[in-house]
């Protein structure tokens, strides 16, 4: 019985998480998964915003526009950082749950909040510069 339980545990990936601690309450694991998915969706929303900035403005005013392109690239980069951070955070949280350590506070959330504020200001400037 013990061997039966241990063998699949060894095959679980990544080993960095499943090699330590013990199985937490399944509800916590599931909640952690949903939090990861919420972060991934946030990343997708950021990327969609980047592509949207480019697509809408290209339709309105054709031709190259460095300001517009840099805003789009900034949003895409934010999305990429956000998705990598989502996975990293999922790992950190799962490890903390397994070792019964305190859960670390979200580092990216305040950055994202302030960053989106900056993006909002940039989008407003872009709107004014392009004359609607």
């Amino acid at each position: 019985m013990a061997a039966e339980n241990e063998e699949p545990a060894c095959r679980r990936w990544p080993h960095r998480i499943y090699g330590v601690g013990e199985e937490p309450d399944p509800r916590f694991t599931l909640a952690n998964e949903r939090t990861f998915l919420a972060w991934i969706r946030t990343a997708l929303a950021l990327m969609a915003a980047g592509v949207g900035v480019e697509a809408l403005n290209a339709a309105m005013s054709p031709g190259p526009d460095p300001l517009r392109t840099s805003l789009a690239v900034l949003l895409l980069l934010a999305g990429v950082v956000c998705s990598v951070a989502a996975f990293g955070r999922w790992m950190t949280m799962e490890r903390a749950l397994r070792t019964k350590a305190p859960l670390p506070p979200p580092k990216l959330a305040p950055v994202l909040g302030f960053g989106l504020g900056v993006v909002g200001v940039a989008a407003t400037v872009l709107l004014l510069v392009n004359g609607f």
């Binding site: 339980n5 699949p8 545990a9 679980r12 990936w13 990544p14 998480i17 499943y18 199985e23 399944p26 509800r27 694991t29 599931l30 909640a31 998964e33 949903r34 990861f36 998915l37 919420a38 991934i40 969706r41 990343a43 997708l44 990327m47 969609a48 980047g50 592509v51 480019e54 697509a55 190259p64 392109t69 789009a72 690239v73 895409l76 980069l77 999305g79 990429v80 998705s83 990598v84 989502a86 996975f87 999922w90 790992m91 799962e94």
Partner: protein, 98 residues
């Protein structure tokens, strides 16, 4: 209920991916048909595999929870992250391709 809610979150995220990728590829096709075809050939099969894997994960989670066995591991999380990075790359191709 917890498993159900988590499965819905997986499916919702998967759906967002598929819809987002389709819109993005449609936009990209406007700028370069070749780039759109290449990106579609890479991204859409991956998205389909991930959709099937999400459903299988749900079945496994239900089964394991009943049998008091550990829940599924982190492979699908890594796959979603990879797909998000791919979507970001395709988005960058679109934005930078004038």
């Amino acid at each position: 209920m917890q498993v159900e809610r988590t499965t819905l979150a997986w499916l919702r995220t998967g759906l967002t991916f598929v819809v987002g990728l389709m819109v993005l590829l449609r936009l990209l096709a406007h700028r370069s048909a070749v780039a759109a075809a290449v990106c579609a050939a890479v991204a859409l099969p991956l998205a389909a595999v991930i959709a099937v894997a999400s459903w299988r994960r749900h079945r496994q989670a239900e089964r394991n929870l009943r049998a008091a066995k550990p829940l599924p591991d982190g492979v699908l999380q890594a796959a979603f992250t990879a797909l998000a990075l791919l979507a970001g790359a395709i988005g960058a191709v679109y934005v930078l391709l004038m």
